[in-house]
């Protein structure tokens, strides 16, 4: 959607236009759900937290503090905060559920080697990262956000996002190297 169209839709949403709000929900509900699910690992919790994100969105609009641009970043940030609140309520970090489904294989040798990585290994390696590093990896390589959007979600400058990305990939490489060698 072009920037102008999104701006127009946001203006209508801020005026509590039902159609505009429904369109926004239809567009962003599943991405937000996936992002939340990848963090919490449970369907029901992910559904609840996703509903909470859109509830915050409506409350912000009602207080006339809703977003007027960068809607996606705003929603991801709300989802990120909801996840953090969830873990604070839980008083402990919940490990992501193991999933033995293998990654997609590709034709080239590098891709084939990568295909041997199991989802469990990736999840385990992600848990070894810091929160910011993990969020950068998920937002950028899984959810497909740009550096600017990730920076907006995490409230950090773009340079910090690049640095976090570098350190996160290096850490993942270290943690995945042993399983890869064992598998090979």
């Amino acid at each position: 959607m072009s920037n102008d169209l999104e701006q127009a839709r946001l203006r209508r949403a801020n005026a509590f236009d039902r159609a505009a709000l429904a369109a926004i929900y239809d567009e962003y509900q599943q991405p937000i759900y996936r992002y939340v699910y990848r963090n919490v690992g449970e369907v029901e919790i992910a559904r609840d937290l996703t509903a909470e994100v859109f509830h915050r969105f409506l409350q912000a609009i009602q207080r006339e503090q809703g977003p007027t641009r960068h809607l996606r970043a705003w929603l991801y940030r709300a989802a990120h905060n909801s996840v953090i609140d969830h873990f604070r309520r839980q008083k402990h970090r919940q490990h992501l559920p193991l999933n033995e489904e293998l990654v997609n294989t590709r034709d080239d040798p590098v891709t084939l080697a990568e295909g041997r990585l199991s989802a469990a290994a990736v999840r385990a390696a992600l848990q070894e990262l810091t929160d910011d590093q993990r969020q950068v990896i998920i937002l950028k390589f899984i959810e497909g956000l740009s550096n600017a959007e990730a920076a907006n979600v995490l409230d950090k400058p773009i340079g910090a996002i690049k640095s976090l990305q570098h350190r996160a990939l290096a850490a993942l490489q270290r943690h995945l190297a042993v399983p890869q060698q064992e598998m090979w």
């Binding site: 429904a22 409506l58 006339e64 080239d108 990305q165 990939l169």
Partner: protein, 510 residues
């Protein structure tokens, strides 16, 4: 030259965009060795975290719930929170204070806005506190803020550790109290008793604090007090002419208190020593101690049960001195210290360190020509009076005893008839040269009187009284015979001790 973070980011973006990894590495052979493992890990993440989606009906249920919320919130009135209303109000007054940007860009408010709010709250609290303090400082006793004003004054006193500073603060507070009374009266209100009490308290405390200072500081404080008295007295006098009767009376009372304070201040400026002795909490180191005459020490010698209580002796009119002609000067007028305002005006004498105020002095000086006794007594005596006194029956020209007695005598000595007691005409009293008191255990007949029983002395005393008073007087009720050890200073004799100012039997001179 780009740093490696940017190089990696560029390559990662190409990988996310769908370019194959070998082509990305081929385009940057210099960094291929470093980029290869990292990009391989990044490529492995695609699809590595599969998501379990809910059932479609659950999606639909969530969507319906969202739209129901939309409908519900549409019907709700929009509650504008207090900070927003406050911000709008401030922006209405100061349009340039806040930016017009309404988009936050983030869900949470920015730290800058929090800081601005915190500063606003801090400023409001400080401003409110300061404004209240200023209003309290200008409040009058009928104001609800007046207790706060008094508390602030107490706090100033607590902070001031120097007694000189405390004395000056008391003076300032007395001045404020006087000004408050004047303002109240000018407003048409009547200053109540509490206001006047506060004024009097501050004046008294200022005097007491000043009396405890050294000479230089005390004179400085008293000089300042004199200026304050003049100013406030003038203001209150002027205000009296402008107010009605109830307030006028209150102002007059306050003016009198201020004038009395002024007299005390003048006393302090003229005679610091007397001022210290009168108002000081404790005697300063440089103030001379009053002499401790021997009789005061011997006052404790006699058994307490033998010393009658203060009051007239057996032959003494309990209602007061017998001075029919009215020419004799009461001895009490000689007192200066320790009686203060009770003294009649003009009663200046040499007695400096006080004595018992309860003693009837020279009670039976009927002729009026007799000189009061104890003229030079400076250091007072005890007060357990009782028993007949010297010169008690002096009816004509006999000079009372004790003129030269300067250091008093014991209280509990000589309860019986005393010297000069029977002197009716030209008899010379005994003990003229006795200046320093005598022993006090002697309770028998003293002086010129022979050792007669007490009853006989009473008869003689009655006769002398009849001679001095031609008109028939009702006889007093018979008094019990005085105990030998019962009389005190008021009944001293020539042998048993120097007389007191109130009529000792010894030491009279012609």
């Amino acid at each position: 030259m780009m740093d490696f973070d940017t190089i990696l980011d560029t390559a990662a973006n190409r990988l996310i965009g769908g370019e194959p990894l070998p082509s990305i590495l081929a385009d940057d052979p210099a960094n291929a060795e470093s980029l290869g493992p990292l990009l391989s890990v990044a490529a492995s993440l695609d699809g590595a975290l599969p998501v379990q989606l809910p059932a479609p009906n659950q999606f639909q249920a969530d969507r319906d719930a969202f739209l129901a919320q939309v409908q519900f919130l549409q019907q709700q009135p929009v509650p504008v929170p207090l900070p927003v209303r406050l911000k709008e109000w401030i922006v209405g007054i100061f349009p340039g204070l806040f930016s017009n940007r309404t988009y936050s860009g983030k869900e949470h408010p920015r730290m800058s806005s929090l800081l601005i709010k915190a500063m606003l709250v801090f400023g409001l609290v400080l401003g409110t506190t300061g404004g209240t303090a200023v209003m309290a400082a200008n409040s009058l006793p009928d104001s609800p803020l007046f207790p706060l004003k008094l508390s602030m004054e107490q706090a100033r006193l607590m902070v001031a550790g120097d007694p000189a500073e405390q004395a000056q603060l008391r003076l300032e507070m007395a001045q404020v109290r006087a000004q408050e009374m004047t303002q109240l009266a000018l407003q048409g209100d009547v200053p109540d008793e509490a206001v006047q009490t506060r004024l009097q308290q501050q004046l008294n405390l200022a005097l007491q604090l000043a009396a405890g200072l050294d000479n230089g500081q005390m004179l400085g404080v008293l000089t300042q007090a004199r200026a304050m008295v003049q100013a406030q007295t003038q203001q209150m006098t002027q205000a009296q002419a402008q107010v009605g009767e109830p307030a006028q009376s209150a102002l007059q009372q306050a003016t009198r208190a201020m004038q009395q304070f002024g007299r005390d201040v003048e006393t302090g400026l003229a005679d610091p020593l007397a001022f210290r002795n009168r108002f000081g909490f404790g005697r300063p180191a440089d103030a001379p101690e009053p002499l401790s005459p021997e009789p005061q020490q011997k006052q404790q010698v006699g058994p307490p049960e033998e010393a009658p209580a203060a009051g007239p002796g057996p032959n003494e009119d309990p209602t007061g001195p017998k001075c029919p002609a009215g020419d004799c000067e009461p001895v009490r007028t000689r007192q200066q210290s320790s009686q203060g305002d009770e003294l009649p005006a003009g009663a200046q004498n040499q007695h400096q360190y006080g004595q018992d105020a309860e003693k009837p002095a020279n009670p039976d000086c009927p002729g009026g020509d007799c000189e009061p006794v104890g003229d030079a007594n400076k250091y007072g005596q005890g007060d357990t009076t009782g028993g007949p006194h010297g010169d008690q029956d002096c009816t004509s020209d006999c000079e009372p005893a004790g003129d030269e007695n300067k250091y008093g005598q014991d209280d509990d000595n000589s309860g019986g008839p005393h010297g000069d007691q029977d002197c009716t005409s030209d008899c010379e009293p005994v003990g003229d040269e006795n200046k320093y008191g005598q022993d006090d255990d002697t309770g028998g007949p003293n002086g010129d009187s022979a050792e007669e029983p007490a009853q006989q002395q009473n008869k003689e005393q009655e006769q002398s009284t009849q001679q001095a008073e031609p008109a028939p007087q009702p006889q007093p009720e018979p008094q019990p015979a005085p105990d030998n050890s019962g009389s005190s200073d008021s009944g001293g004799s020539s042998n048993s001790g120097g007389s007191s100012d109130s009529g000792g039997g010894g030491g009279g001179k012609k």
